[in-house]
């Protein structure tokens, strides 16, 4: 990458504009397939921009613009941002004054709860994974398997004891409670992911650092961790998406103050007995998409290396 590259190039938006060896034909083909997979997302984004009465119109309106007359008028809708403002404030009864919906709070909750628990799981899980990888216990694999089994049970099976325990210790409805639960929930996955990354590292490199005078702490922090940044990024994103999406625990264990977006979304669209407000739902979903999209976008280079790690001899 040259020094004069633009901001977009530097953050990896255009991969230096290179079509690569496959040529335009294949690139176009891949682009079309990607677009096909992207259609549901595109549909949601467009719906969030439609006037409420157009949401379910048949035939559906497909585009916010006529593309210079290419698309017939009855497929075109006039985009509006009204749905987005009604996510945060709208009249709850017909003809009433707009009231705040509390969604600013719910978004804040989702961001705080998901990022804190994924970060915590990443820190604890990485340390545990390093231990499992470098200082194996007797029966190491058994312990790892037991950790994995915590994720084999469907969440619905364990939710009742968790609810009861949380009630007894007063964690129900608190931030700490749901963050702890999500941290534990993410740990198994984090440990398994990170262990496989640590296993791939050459122990000779660590021994070289020991001979060069590094303590065990420095071997971990200065030699091992920097080599698994891709793994940390991948684990972080996967964990974030899982936690960001989580509905069941959040439904049963968050209170009015700690409610996350998936739960609030459900209540927002089904309340009032007016049937589902599709454009409102689409707006919430579009907003809900943005944080995960941004994180994934900024970590994309690491991610690609992370998910293909160990599959290619470097």
């Amino acid at each position: 990458m040259s020094q004069s590259s633009s901001f977009l190039e530097r953050i990896g938006f255009f991969k230096s504009g290179n079509v690569g060896e496959s040529g335009w034909g294949r690139t176009l083909g891949v682009g079309l397939i990607s677009l096909f997979y992207f259609l549901p997302v595109l549909f949601i984004i467009f719906t969030s921009l439609k006037p409420q009465d157009m949401a379910l119109s048949v035939p559906p309106t497909l585009s916010p613009t006529s593309l210079f007359g290419l698309i017939p008028d009855h497929y075109v809708f006039t985009p509006t941002l009204e749905n987005f403002s009604s996510v945060f404030s709208r009249s709850m009864t017909s003809g009433g004054a707009p009231e705040p919906t509390g969604f600013d709070r719910y978004f804040f909750n989702s961001i705080v709860i998901a990022s804190t628990s994924v970060f915590l799981a990443l820190i604890i899980g990485t340390l545990a994974a390093y231990g499992f990888s470098r200082y194996p216990l007797k029966g190491n694999d058994t312990y790892l398997f037991i950790i994995l089994t915590t994720r084999m049970l469907p969440a619905i099976v364990v939710i009742i004891p968790v609810i009861l325990m949380f009630r007894v210790v007063g964690l129900s409805g608190s931030y700490i409670g749901i963050i702890l639960l999500y941290t534990a929930f993410n740990l198994a996955f984090t440990i398994w992911m990170m262990k496989s990354f640590f296993d791939e590292l050459s122990t000779d490199v660590e021994d070289a650092a020991r001979i060069d005078g590094s303590s065990e702490t420095k071997v971990f922090l200065k030699i091992c961790l920097p080599q698994v940044i891709a793994g940390l990024a991948a684990t972080f994103v996967f964990g974030l998406i899982l936690t960001w999406n989580e509905f069941l625990f959040a439904l049963l264990l968050t209170g009015p103050d700690t409610r996350t977006v998936p739960v609030a979304m459900n209540q927002a669209v089904s309340s009032g007995g007016r049937g589902t407000d599709w454009t409102l739902l689409a707006s919430i979903e579009t907003l809900f998409l943005i944080p995960v999209f941004l994180v994934t976008f900024f970590l994309q280079d690491h991610l690609l290396r992370g998910v293909t790690f160990g599959t290619v001899k470097r």
Binding site: V205, A208, I211, D212, P226
Partner: protein, 363 residues
């Protein structure tokens, strides 16, 4: 080579087992200061474990280790004054060449300017000054090797351990690096312990060689000593290329005549250690056999195969049931063809005698 004040390294009865695997078994040797010492033996013979024990990465189950007269058996890695080059090079993949060089100095808390000076000096010495900002995976094998060397040398270690450092390089580079290593040894004068399974590396670089077998040293000596008087069949078979010819034989009553497929071979002196009638092995190096001159005590053979190697040719000949290999100058071998008869002369002064059971040399 007795233990004197300037013994750099001394191992006594070092033993290390990994579960049932005996990596090192009652290993003892000493290395004088400033010597280029080679640990030679096939893979998984305990060379790496030995080096790792010296470095402090492995704590021995038994035995002791002294470095410059100080007991270091259980000492911390830091402070041993030992550095090591790994077979895999073990460069820090996330750091540039500069940072790789600087790493040991940073850990020693050397000042920034001093680090910069020494890194640049080391890079220049190893002709890496133009690659200083590169990451290891963008370098060629030879360059990576030099980075690994530089990172070990930059601390000015008293003892440098090299674990098969040339194994991962191609043949041409290996040759160049052998010369480079010898030059560095002359320049810095540090003690080097060099592990290799390659006899050419051992013989061409080692001032002293310890031949290892099953975690212990079988024989220790200069390259000449090992070549001229191998202690047993194992050493005889490992040192020298092409390998020594080994003939089944029966010891005669006079303990100096040996009955072989080539007829009677006579030792120039009586072998007191031999026992009349026992099975023995007579070893003759391919370089010690030549085409017989007229009037010499010749053995009649038939040529089987010719392997021209440029200035010399390895000739395989059949004599009875046995096959002998001999090395002939190219001019001599050029007239020969497979199937031809050839009379060869074996130099009795160069015979090696071993007991068939146990393999120890007879004298």
């Amino acid at each position: 080579m007795s233990a004197s004040a300037n013994t750099a390294l001394s191992l006594k009865g070092v033993t290390k087992h990994y579960g049932r695997v005996r990596a090192v078994e009652n290993l003892s040797f000493e290395v004088a200061e400033g010597r280029f010492f080679v640990l030679f033996g096939p893979s998984s013979v305990g060379k790496t474990t030995t080096l790792r024990t010296i470095a402090g990465l492995v704590r021995p189950d038994a035995g002791s280790l002294e470095i410059f007269g100080k007991d270091m058996t259980a000492a911390e890695i830091k402070g041993r004054g030992v550095s090591m080059v790994f077979q895999s090079f073990a460069l820090y993949p996330h750091l540039t060449v500069y940072e790789n060089f600087a790493y040991p100095l940073v850990e020693e808390k050397v000042g920034k300017e001093e680090i910069d000076r020494r890194v640049k000096e080391t890079a220049a010495m190893l002709k890496l000054d133009k690659k200083i900002d590169r990451k290891p995976n963008t370098l060629s094998g030879g360059e990576q090797q030099r980075v690994a060397l530089g990172r070990s040398l930059i601390r000015r270690p008293k003892i440098l351990l090299l674990d098969e450092p040339l194994t991962n390089l191609d043949a041409k580079l290996r040759h160049d690096m052998r010369a480079e290593l010898k030059r560095l040894h002359r320049q810095f004068g540090m003690t080097i312990v060099y592990a290799t399974p390659d006899e050419l590396e051992a013989l061409s670089m080692g001032e002293e060689i310890a031949v290892m077998r099953e975690g212990a040293v079988v024989q220790r000596g200069t390259p000449d000593e090992l070549y001229e008087s191998p202690k047993d069949l194992y050493v005889a078979g490992k040192i020298g290329s092409p390998h020594m010819n080994l003939l089944q034989a029966k010891t005669g009553k006079d303990k100096s005549t040996f009955e072989t497929a080539l007829g009677k071979l006579v030792s120039p002196k009586k072998l007191a250690g031999a026992q009349a009638g026992e099975a023995a092995i007579v070893g003759i190096r391919p370089n010690d056999i030549r085409i017989a001159k007229k009037g010499e005590d010749a053995v009649k053979t038939q040529i089987r195969m010719l392997e021209p190697l440029g200035d010399v040719t390895v000739v395989s000949v059949a004599a009875g049931e046995e096959t002998l290999r001999l090395v002939l100058p190219e001019q001599v071998a050029s007239g020969l063809e497979p199937g031809q008869a050839a009379s060869i002369y074996l130099d009795p002064e160069k015979f090696h005698f071993f007991r068939a059971a146990g393999g120890e040399a007879l004298s």
